[in-house]
Amino acid sequence: MNTSVIVFPGSNCDLDVVHAISSALGTQADLVWHDDNELPQGTELVVLPGGFSYGDYLRCGAMAAKSPIIRAVIEHAGSGLPVLGICNGFQVLTETGLLPGALLANRTLSFICDFCHVRVERNDTPFTSLYRKGQVLRIPIAHYEGMYFLPGDELAKIETANRIVFRYCSPEGEVDDSFSPNGALNCIAGITNEAGNVLGMMPHPERASESILGSVDGLPLWQSLSRWLEGRNRS
């Protein structure tokens, strides 16, 4: 799997993603500087990692979304290849317009760094094929602005279009606002674009890919992507 992990000034989960992919799949991932105009030739997966791009100044992800590399990322997404935004990467994806909505300050008005539970709502995406639908993942979050927001009518549209991939839930898989750590509307923790090849998620799969980290529930995400890309290359 040829992966490009975009590094913005202030990204801090870029090396974690590289490490997780290397330990999960035994493949290397390239770090790509935000100021570059093109992705390395042969890039299959683009990851926008977590962190505090541009110090979270103005709005989280706003300035990163205007970086030179973003044009290439939008083209990459347009070609049907996968783009994954994790945490700040999710915020960047909403600011680019590749995903709808915005991530607002947590209703607790506090930075939350903790394990949470999310339920897999779809396993027909390149990112989630090796999960069971309804499977509960224990996976860390670490953010201040994670409350997913979209105006009511647009929210209804993405619900109807089945674009929610992960929802916050109880350890048993019950979805209810009381289990949402940040107050995200409809307990949304991760969504895709219409085509299903762009995923934004607040939880950090790269921090849950080795047993020493307390969870391996993020591991199938990398394996799903690798398998999906192999299948695509064969056909």
Binding site: L58, R59, A62, G101, A102, L104, A105, R107, L109, M147
Partner: protein, 85 residues
């Protein structure tokens, strides 16, 4: 000519403003019982060159659209002032 674009950015109606809510509650707690609602936004001041006030305003609007404001969740207002040196 030099102008100052004084830009206010604030949460849109219907968008949960957790900061505003918390501050509103605190004001009530310390005795300001007249407070109905508080909104918290930000102030951005851009010093720019333009041939007249209208051009300065058009440029500031474009900056808001392109970067400074996310109109999904934020509203804004702009006031242009000429800088007299």
């Amino acid at each position: 000519m030099n102008y100052l674009a004084k830009i206010l950015v604030f949460p849109r109606e219907g968008v949960l403003d957790t900061q505003g809510k918390a501050v509103g509650k605190a004001l009530g707690r310390i005795g300001f019982s007249s407070v109905k609602d508080v909104k918290i936004g930000k102030y951005i001041q851009v010093n720019l060159e333009a041939k007249d006030e209208k051009e300065a305003e058009t440029a500031a609007e474009e900056m808001c659209r392109e970067l400074l404001v996310n109109d999904l969740v934020e509203d804004h207002s702009i006031r242009i002032e000429r800088i007299v040196l």
